[in-house]
Structures are given as structure tokens and as C-alpha cells.
Symmetry: C2
Subunit: 444 residues, 2 copies
């Protein structure tokens, strides 16, 4: 058995921490509490060289002598081997990490927005100097997900990644499902309980999930995908009627980040070509689907690969300690690479698959209509579907003269064809109101 | 974007495949089908140098010119960089892999029995030569699990790993739960459907799960644990009465592999000391627990860590293609390490935590008794619990004169105290029969 102390004489790995909020504070705590274990696992001790913050007097929980307001000087210091970034946002994080990578310093970051927008620059700098760039904490917090996608499944062909990657919206949708309350009421409750920020835009409009989807799609399909490539719809338009309609069909509404291989025939005679669909939108999934029972602030990601089949990864997607756990895992990896002169996996965007526009993406719709209940309604509605080449999977007609409803679930068709169908149906005189339109996922 | 072809000039990584059964055949297929992708991901092409089998004429699905019966010569060949072992069993696998590692060849193996018994020799040989030793496929098939434990959670403190890691026993217990049939009937059905082998001993007696538990405990707790250290109970003694008792309490019986940190006070005045419990036995878990809904031949592993909190990994635990996916993931990693002169993580047994005997392990029991229904039974039974310092969490008494039952769920106590309690209760004149005794897990 090796002893912890046998590594004490090795040159320590010096770490610069950028940012010291909820996650940063936990990183400092874990570095201190687990020091002997980290030393044994890495083969050398890890030491904090400095912590860059904006207002040093606000951080009484970390050693004062480590605090600095000069992040540039800290990152440029010869005394630093690894830069850990938990500031978030694009600048100054981007410039600081480029400086670090260019000078050969390893980088660990939890910054999803930065990775989703500027991964090309960062990977280029990492490739040029040979410095490691790790970012497990950027997606799904503590859940080991990027390492499995990048490494464990590197010998397989991933066909789909579908997940609940935003805790705030999952908390709100879970709440709407269990209480039947409106979106506005449930958001208010989530804000009061601290599950939603005062300005919830990044979460409820799907920006946060879209950044994560871009990162997941890049890794899963070995292609370069940025946040701007992601079709994005938030949950603000999800109504109590949508939630009730899903319940009536044994389904539940979730905000999903979906990355999948799609084969598209542009119809120009060139045949079908392979591409990827990357999107974030609310969708109904069967209550028996493994993702359906992921409630509250938890995250879960469902992965399908040709040989491995279906897999699911589940855990805490946010929070100081869980995110810090993922950061520390990466820190051990890059520090070990420095001790053993190794290198982590590089960016692999060799496949260069094109991202298909949402209109070309095959999907399925659930449509609930308030209709005039008289003979011929169904035939008029069905004619519109046929006209758009959309095939109907199931129909349910209910009610009497003044309160009739028609619920339709389609087979897969392109999103564009489905949208045109819904638009035209909404204009039929026999249709009083389009009550709910929602995509359907998680079933074939 | 890098092109696949740009790597074609790199020196190929030569692979020797040992064994060509269900998994080996899939490995050959994936190596062929995914060749361009593997080349791009590794940075060099992968080529099969040879396939060692016992009866070459039985393998028409792989190229005949690659087949050989001389595994020793294949492993010793200068033309081989990586040895992939899917023979299973201890010998000749052990000798072949030691030869490979000692000569600096990287090893990928799916051999759980070998890892669980001889990991010390293998890791020593790997350390001495600097050759990689990867074995993701040895536990839970396609589910990325060992890499997350070894790497993603390397900065955290894992406190428990609890999982369903044997598909055959899970299929049988799922069947007993849904039909109410006996163990013998359900095993017969599983054998007929091909879910159980003709000789099911390795599965139903828990040997397979125990090997996996030893591997998981070693990685999670940075300690050396072998199959012989694992307390093992199979499912042959699980009765229809046990299954029914669990159902009546909102629980379900699963065969669990459990690895957890335990703090034990030996009672000699030296205070509590840290150790680990590693065990495989049937247990009742609440139907609301994430592991409860893992049915049929699927595997799932629940992990708890101090900072990361609760996580679950779910997927296919066996089968040719899923296992081959895990083997290929490791093959990409070791091949990439050869191209980039890197090295995978070493064995880390620095913590050297002792494995506690089952008797010292804190656990909880469910006990169902057939009793004489008269005043004083409960007080006599309760007195035996008190005498052994076992605290009762819940009691349910049912029935009339001739058919009375008493169901007791305990608080945590050592397994030894619980066993003594049950033995003594079984001897009380007022107790007609001990109907069911089952450990309770997954709740605090």
C-alpha cells in the first residue's frame, strides 16, 4: 500500500482560482478538506496560488492572503500550473482562459456559455500549446456525463442524447404537473423558494439548456455546434391546458435538450444526407419513460448508442458542492496529467456534421382542438393533415354540442409540415380554438 | 475541421484479440464498421493483428487469416501494441495479460473474475512497465461506470455504491415480483428464455455480483478488495413469502451489490475506526427508490458522494454489443495514449481501508413471524430485541387465533446482533415460524 506521505516531496501543482462565489467557495473547501486524498490520487500536492475576486472584503471564508483583484496577473504568474475558472459569462473569462492555455497552463472551467460560444478559440489555444482543457462541470453539474460521452463511448456511434439539463424549468414543470397551477403562479413560487433567479430569463427561455445542448452535441457527434445553432423554445408558453392534455394521455411535459442524428432528404434528387438536430423545447414524454420520474431540481440525461443501447445518467445538476465535485474531478485529471506528462483527449470535430434547421427535423405533434361537434369535423381536419403529408397516429373525440374536443397525435413528420398543418387547421371555421400544441418525444 | 484521411499515414495501432465469442465477434464487427471514425478519434488507424481462439473452424464470421490457436505467440508478438481479452476465467487469461503488460503492451479486458481476484498482480505489472490496464466492460456492461468512479469523482469522497449488477438475478426477482411465482418456477422460465445459463450458479449464488462489488469497492474507496472479501448471499433462498412481504410494505426485493464506508467501534476503548463494507445480498428497497424501477436484464448503479450527492447510472449490463461498446471505448483510450505518449490513471489503493466482516456491518432487518395470537407475544418478542440492543422501527400485528402474523422492521444495528435476535426469536415457544427475514436498504 502506498502512503500519502510518500508524495509530499513532489513539486506541488499550483492552482489559480478565478471567481469565488457558491462554486468557488466549495472548491476551496474541498481542496482543503481533501488535501491528503487529492495528493495521493494525483501523485503530488495541490496548492492554491491565488483566488481572483472583484471584492476581496466580501470573502471572509477563504484565506485573505490568497485573494487578489488582479486576475490577469494571477493567470500570467509563472507560479501557476492550472487555472480553474468559475466566474461564468463570456468576458473576462474568455481572455483569461486564452492567456492561460496559450502559456501552457491547464484549464478547468464550469462555464457553459463560454464553451457553447467560443469553444473553437479555446480548443485551438489548447491544441497549440498542448495544455489540457476540461469542463465536466459545464453540463449537468455533478453528473459524470461529458467524460462518458468523450471517452467511454468513444468506440461507439451515439445516435441520440436527450436530457433534462435545467433544474429551474424542471422544478416549475414538475410543480405545474402536480398542482395544475399556471406557469406564472408556479414561477412565482419557484422564485420565492430560491429555485428561480430574480431574472429567470436564462433558464425559462431555454438559453441555459441551449448552451448545454451545444456542448453535448459537439461531443456526441464529433462536430462543432455553438449555442446559435440550437433551436430554442422556453417554457413560458406552456399552459395548464398543455399539462392537463399530457396527463390525459399518460404523458408529462418536460423541457428537453435533444441532440440527435437525422437523415434528411432535401428533395432535390441528391438523396438523404446525414446531419444533426440540436434543439431545446418543451415536449410530452410517456410517464413510463426514465426521464419522466426526474423531478424537482434534478437533472438526467438519456443517451442512445448503436452498440451500447440505452443509458441514463442521473444526479444533481447544479449547486455549489455538486458543481465543485465535477470541477475537482477535472482538477485531479489535469494535475495527474502534469505529474505524468500525459494529456487529456483533444477536441474531435472531425465528423463536421451539419446542423439541420428545425423545419427539416422529424418530430411528432400532439394537438388538442376545441371544435364544433358536428358530423364532418374530423374529415375536414384529417384532410388538412393529408394535404401536408402528415400521418395521424391516434385521434380522440370527446364531448357534446357546446363543448367538444378533438385530440390528435401524429406520426413523425418534418417540423415545418407539422407547423403548416396546425396553422391551417387553426383557420378552419369548424375549429373554435387550438387548445394545445406540443411535441411528443421518447416513443417510436 | 480535421479530415479522417489526414491520419491514414500514421503508424497503425495493432490489436491482438483473445477470445471470439459473443463479445469478441462484436468487437471485430465494430472495429471494421467504425474504422474511419476510430481512426479519427485515436489519431491513427487500428488494425487487428490476430484473434486467438480454441477452434478456428468455428469462427466463420471473422477473417480466417487472423485466427490462431497460439495465444501465447500472438501476445508475445512484436507486431502487437494492445491486447484485448474477452476469454473470461482466470487461466490462461491471467498469464497472457501478465505477459502482455510486462512487455509494455496495453491491456483492455472485460474479465471481472480475473480483476476481482488478481488485480494486485496485474496492476503491479502495469505499474512496472507503464502499460495501460483498462477494464470498463468488467462491470455493468455498457454503462460508463468505472471511468466516472476512477476519474470524474476523483476529487470527491464517495460514501456508497449500491447497484443491480447482475441481469439474470434481476430478471428472476422482477418475475417473482410481478407473478408471485416461486424462485424455482421463475428460474426455470428464465432458463427457457435464455436469461439464465444451464448452470446458473455464478449468477444466482451471487459470485458474478461479488466480483463486480470487489472491483467497484476498490475503485470507490482506493483500497484493495478481492472477491474473497465480499460477503455473498444469493437469491435461491428468496421465497414467494419474502416477495409478498416486501410488496405489503411498499418495497421490492433486489439482489444488491453494496460497497459503503462504515465506522465501527470494536468496543475495546480504541474508539470508532473507518472501514468498508462490501457485500452482495437480497434486500428490500422502497418502490420509490430509483433502483426499484430497474427491471428485467437492465443494470443500474446508485452512487453517493459527499459533494456530488446522489447519482445513478443505468443501462444494459450484459450482451455482446453493449459489452463490446465498453471494450471499444477503452481501446480508443489506450490507443490514444499510445499515439500521444500518455498514460491512463494508475491503481490507487493508497487509502488501504479494511473490509469489515458482515457481523460488524450496520444494517436493518425486516422480520415476518407466524405467531400464537395471544396477549404477551409482542412483549416477549420485543424483550429479545431489547436484550440484543436492537431498536424496533415499526411493528404490524395482524390476524386472529389460528393465523396471526407479526411484522417487524428494525432500526440499524450490526448484522451479528440482528442475526442473534432472529435466532433467539425463532426459538420462542410463542413463535410458530419465522416466515421471512430480509435486509432493508435504500432508506435512512
Amino acid at each position: 500500500m502506498r502512503k500519502v506521505s510518500s508524495h509530499a516531496h513532489r513539486k506541488p501543482i499550483k492552482v489559480a482560482l478565478l471567481g469565488c462565489g457558491t462554486v468557488g467557495t466549495e472548491v476551496v473547501r474541498l481542496l482543503t478538506d481533501q488535501a491528503p486524498d487529492l495528493t495521493a490520487r494525483i501523485g503530488a500536492p495541490v496548492e492554491l496560488a491565488g483566488i481572483a475576486v472583484r471584492r476581496p472584503n466580501k470573502h471572509r471564508e477563504v484565506p485573505a492572503e490568497l485573494l487578489t483583484t488582479d486576475a490577469e496577473a494571477l493567470v500570467a504568474s509563472d507560479d501557476v500550473d492550472v487555472v480553474v475558472e468559475v466566474i461564468g459569462g463570456i468576458e473576462p473569462a474568455r481572455s483569461l482562459l486564452l492567456t492561460a492555455l496559450r502559456s501552457g497552463k491547464s484549464v478547468v472551467t464550469a462555464n457553459k456559455a463560454l464553451l457553447a460560444e467560443h469553444s473553437a478559440d479555446l480548443f485551438e489555444a489548447s491544441d497549440a500549446s498542448g495544455a489540457d482543457l476540461y469542463f465536466e462541470a459545464a453540463v449537468a453539474g455533478a453528473i459524470p456525463l461529458l467524460r462518458p460521452l468523450r471517452e467511454s463511448l468513444a468506440g461507439d456511434r451515439i445516435t441520440r442524447v436527450m436530457g433534462i439539463v435545467n433544474g429551474t424549468t424542471n422544478f416549475i414543470l414538475s410543480g405545474m404537473d402536480s398542482t395544475g397551477a399556471s406557469y406564472a403562479e408556479t414561477l412565482e413560487e419557484a422564485t420565492r423558494l430560491g429555485y428561480a433567479e430574480a431574472d429567470p430569463t436564462a433558464d425559462v427561455d431555454g438559453f441555459d439548456a441551449a448552451s448545454k445542448a451545444a456542448i453535448l452535441a459537439s461531443l456526441a457527434f464529433h462536430s462543432r455546434v455553438t449555442a446559435a445553432d440550437v433551436h430554442r423554445e422556453g417554457i413560458a408558453a406552456v399552459s395548464a391546458a398543455d399539462i392537463a392534455a399530457a396527463k390525459g394521455l399518460g404523458r408529462i411535459v418536460k423541457l428537453l435538450a435533444i441532440c440527435e442524428r437525422v437523415s434528411v432528404d432535401a428533395g432535390d434528387g441528391s438523396g438523404a444526407s446525414e446531419g444533426i438536430s440540436v434543439r431545446v423545447h418543451p415536449a410530452m414524454i410517456p410517464r413510463s419513460h426514465p426521464l419522466a420520474s426526474v423531478h424537482g431540481a434534478f437533472n438526467a440525461v438519456f443517451v442512445e448508442a448503436d452498440a451500447a443501447g440505452e443509458m441514463m445518467f442521473y444526479g444533481q445538476g447544479a449547486g455549489g458542492a455538486p458543481t465543485a465535485s465535477a470541477v475537482l474531478g477535472d482538477l485531479v485529471a489535469v494535475a495527474r496529467n502534469r505529474v505524468h506528462s500525459g494529456r487529456g483527449p483533444r477536441e474531435s470535430a472531425y465528423a463536421g456534421l451539419p446542423v439541420r434547421p428545425m423545419g427539416q427535423t422529424p418530430t411528432r405533434y400532439h394537438i388538442s382542438l376545441d371544435v364544433a361537434d358536428r358530423a364532418g369535423v374530423l374529415s375536414q381536419v384529417a384532410a388538412v393533415f393529408a394535404e401536408h403529408d402528415v400521418s395521424i397516429a391516434a385521434v380522440r373525440q370527446e364531448g357534446r354540442v357546446d363543448d367538444a374536443s378533438l385530440v390528435i397525435v401524429t406520426h413523425a413528420a418534418t417540423d415545418a409540415a407539422l407547423r403548416s398543418t396546425v396553422d391551417k387547421i387553426g383557420g378552419l371555421p369548424v375549429v373554435r380554438e387550438v387548445v394545445s400544441v406540443m411535441r411528443v418525444e421518447g416513443e417510436e
